[in-house]
Every structure is written in C-alpha cells, then in structure tokens.
Symmetry: C2
Subunit: 136 residues, 2 copies
C-alpha cells in the first residue's frame, strides 16, 4: 500500500547524513545484535521464569535444533545473561539460570514482549492489508 503524492520530499541535508547519527561502531548494536537472534529472546523468556536444564529447554522449544540451542545458550552465557551449572551426575546434567544482568535486561525486554502480545492483532491486520493490496 504505497501512497503516491505529488510533492517531492524537499529535505535539505541529503549530504549531511553522516553528521546526525552514527550507525557503524555503535555500542548499542554490539549488544543488540546478540539478543536479536531468532532464539535468544525465547530462551530468555523461559529462563526468566525459572532455571531449566538443557533437555527441558529442548522440549520446551520444540522447533529449535540442538545445535542452535547449544550455540544460543553459549552466546547468552558469554554475554553474562545466563549461568551454566554442571551437576556431576551420571550422565551429567546441566542447568541454565538467569543472572542478575540477565534479569536487568529482561525487564525492558519483557515490555516489548508484552507489546507484541497486546498488538499481535494490529500486526496481523497490517500484514493482511499489505498482502491484499499486493494482488490489486
């Protein structure tokens, strides 16, 4: 649904883009890029509730591959959001739990999840509108 107007966008500073905002080497990106993976948020949401073991998470998120589960957990651990605790049972069991840093991140993050839950309808409607105009 691309609206068409007659007036061209007469914005002055077309060549001053770099002046007002630096998108490269931005500390925010360094953090965001990690938690913006497909699975990170989902695992954070789970671990925010209570600690989980590897197999529990695998069963909880049925469509994640073991490979990505391992990798995402490691990434989250590396960035300090979750903790990995090994219990020397036979076979060994591993428990993942959220750190204080992780909880502190999850606070604003959960607001976004809440928004997603609240506005899912609007988003679906927007998609329908877009796809419909596509055919017309």
């Amino acid at each position: 649904m691309a609206s068409v107007a007659k007036r061209p966008p007469t914005r002055d500073g077309q060549l001053r883009d770099t002046g007002d905002w630096d998108a490269g080497n931005c500390p925010v990106r360094d953090v965001i890029d990690r938690i913006s993976g497909k699975w990170s948020t989902l695992l954070m949401e789970a671990l925010a509730k209570r600690p989980y073991r590897f197999g529990e998470l695998r069963r909880l998120v049925p469509d994640i591959s073991q490979r990505m589960l391992t990798q995402t957990l490691r990434d989250l651990q590396r960035d300090g959001y979750i903790d990995r605790q090994v219990f020397p049972t036979k076979p060994p069991s591993v428990e993942y739990s959220m750190t204080p840093l992780g909880r502190s991140l999850f606070e604003p993050l959960s607001k976004v999840l809440q928004w997603a839950s609240d506005n899912h309808g609007s988003v679906k409607a927007a998609r329908a509108r877009y796809d419909e105009g596509d055919l017309a």
Copy 2:
C-alpha cells in the same frame, strides 16, 4: 566459567514441560521474529527520529546491502511499522516514515536500546571473563 556443584538438580516436573509454557505457535514469536532481525531495530531507530529516503538510509547504515535494506524495509512496512511514500519525481524518490503503530512499538523498544547503551560495559566485561576462562 561453568561452576560445578555436587547436588543434582532435583526438579520434579521433568516430563510436564509442555504443561507450563507453550513456545510453539506463540503470537509473541510471530511478532518478535520479524523485529529481531539484524537490521530491523537499527532502521526503526533511524526512522523514529525522522523520515528518511532509501538512499539516505543506505548512507546512514553503511554496512547494509541494498538487498537487505529493501527487504527489511518491506518487512517493516508489511507489519505496519513504517510507511512507504513514492514521489513521482524523475527519477522517483521514496520516503519511509514511521506509522503510529511503529511508534507505539518503538516506545518499549527504545527502553531496551537504552539498556544496551547503559550496560554495554557490563556485557563487554562478561565477554572478557568468559573468553579468559576459556583459555584457562
């Protein structure tokens, strides 16, 4: 930095996982999966400030390919977060701007960005600690 304890995690409901939380077909995922791409947040952040034209965005985010810029903008538009307006100049110019729905999403989202900015240091420190223990 995996701590090792002696007590195995005696959690009862190992087989009741599916009972307490449904991760598949979750409406939240449907929304989150789209805005959790590598570029979505970045473009939202830009467009939250003011409308931008295609080329402006490309210059603003130097390391995005035209292909991904086009695709991400289309996805954001489809979900109703941004608006695409074509001006019939020669050559035609296209302006992208944030919709009310986009602004409403950006409100909680910006809190996460703020967190990232505030806690970048802690995350970098956690990473350093992890990588260090890796060698030991």
